[in-house]
Symmetry: C2
Subunit: 334 residues, 2 copies
């Protein structure tokens, strides 16, 4: 195998303790021996083993990130932000693709436990009691990204209710009266009881005296595909819709695609507004108007929060970020 600290110590005629001290800038050695040891390290091309170091240090410089999927742009943008922060701090990230699947998620948590990760970020994941109990037991800092929880786990998220309310109101202000919504999976939210984005949608309607009918909401999952099938179902049930609010941009993209393929002009015949403001919105035809939830900031905040918890063991406070409507070309006045 590769050289060890012992090899370095021997060839440099010092003890392993000295080598270790030099490697970690701890002082307690002369300039001369430092140079000598550093030379030997270079010559042998020695790299300390993070494994061995982790064993004593109880620090692996590795964090885990649980994501419900890897094909969603929002999620990969999260991952991107987290990875960037982690790398700057000197940590690596292990990605775990849970598929929102309970058993797979638990398996991943066990795996990360065995790997002795320093911290954990759950992105766009509903924190079930089972998960909470486990991470509690693991005893590592956890933060939720784009999710909240009744359990005492810090989260970084947007005010989904308000954002959805505002997004819907935007459509109303544009003169729309027949507005539908395509939402993600209902069951995902068992924990939260309420689906905030749906509630925001409903309340915006009723506050503006627009009659609401349950059939105006279509529930699916969160992917583009769900947008295309969602639009079909929705228009079957209520054909005179003039605007659609989608729970996220992927669904919105699906709606755009389905509309194109059905010859429904957006925005002339149908206005569409998404949520999250993922980068792809800019490049749709037409560019997709969206409620931006500053998700770049969100990911970085979450990562920074987690590292702060790792380093100082202090409790940190939740963080609710701002939202903002990014007007593009998928919505027009009625």
């Amino acid at each position: 195998m590769a050289y060890t600290i012992k090899d370095v110590a021997q060839t440099a005629n010092v003890s392993t303790a000295t080598v270790s001290r030099i490697l970690n800038d701890q002082g307690g050695y002369s300039e001369k021996t430092k140079r000598k040891v550093l030379n030997v390290i270079q010559e042998l091309d020695y790299y300390p083993s993070g494994i061995a170091r982790g064993l004593t240090n109880k620090r692996t410089n590795t964090i885990g990130v649980l994501v419900p999927n890897l094909t969603s742009s929002l999620v990969t943008e999260f991952l991107d932000g987290i990875e960037s922060v982690a790398h700057n701090i000197g940590s690596s990230v292990i990605v775990c693709h849970t598929e929102s699947h309970g058993i797979k998620t638990m398996k991943y948590l066990q795996l990360l436990h065995e790997k002795r990760i320093d911290g954990l970020i759950l992105a766009s994941t509903v924190l079930k009691k089972e998960y909470y109990d486990y991470v509690e037991k693991m005893g590592v800092p956890v933060v939720l990204l784009s999710a909240y929880s009744e359990f005492p786990v810090p989260y970084v998220t947007a005010n989904d209710y308000e954002a959805a309310y505002t997004g819907t109101k935007y459509l109303i202000q544009k003169g729309h009266k027949k507005i539908g919504m395509i939402s993600g999976n209902k069951e995902e939210w068992i924990a939260g009881n309420l689906i905030p984005r749906v509630e925001g949608f409903k309340d915006a309607l009723s506050d503006n005296n627009i009659s609401f009918n349950e059939s105006c909401i279509e529930y699916g999952k969160f992917s583009i595909d769900d947008g295309v099938t969602g639009l079909k179902h929705l228009l079957n049930r209520v054909p005179d819709l003039t605007a659609i609010f989608t729970e996220n941009d992927e669904i919105g993209m699906g709606v755009l695609s389905a509309a194109y393929n059905s010859g429904i002009k957006v925005p002339e015949k149908l206005s569409v507004i998404g949520m999250d403001d993922i980068n792809l919105c800019n490049f749709m035809s037409p560019p997709l108007t969206s409620v931006s939830l500053s998700h770049n900031e969100m990911a970085e905040k979450a990562a920074n929060l987690m590292f702060k918890m790792i380093n100082s063991d202090t409790e940190v406070s939740n963080c609710i970020l701002d939202y903002q409507i990014i007007e593009r070309q998928s919505v027009c006045s009625q």
Copy 2:
């Protein structure tokens, strides 16, 4: 901290060796003690430390994946496939976002070296000599995904040259004579000398007696943005183009977007064909015709190859996968 194997051994009145044997199904213990130990493990909720285990085993059950970016769909689809294979085999994957940046890449390699990963996959990355020398030194199995190399490192890729040739020929057969190309970064390929997708494009033209002019190729990077700026530059230089072949689908998406915003109808006024056939192609307006390089299969093959090398230390052969044109609606006859 958490319980250790010693705690388990003590409370079960056996030695740590016995506990270890039981944990690893190695035999050499009676059913009775096995049950006893297993009970204690459950009671204490003991989980062995992967770190300690890794120290003796020289196996971390962790692999590294280097990717040039995390916002490209192709790359995340790769990542998805690799993660899936790895998880089934019981390995975790560390993502490293290199931004195609030499220094950052080297830093990551060192980090992964320190972490003592079992294997490494370089996705869509040109293997510079510097990288090769380093991974050689690391002594772990490496495989290139969607890349080739003059160095003796196994790769899994498509026949880019032929695929590009065929994609271009498809446009020609549709009657197009004024065809442009938008390619990725020229400098990326220093190592390979030739840019296979560009060569395929050129050769398809000349083999079909279509005059070729260097100004018909626009070089940028690989993102959607480069597609939009690329189209503008290209049309400035040669305005009578009727078709565009893009080095990848992201660039193709950018072209679609720029065309939409400039009022250029696709495919009526401009045909566009991409490469890779990422999932998003299906949802563009219009859906983007693309040369499919079976990248799902590619990622899985690469991962399986790597694990085979990890487990058997045998040399494996390269793998060149098939391509196929997926006709959608962004190309029409001239």
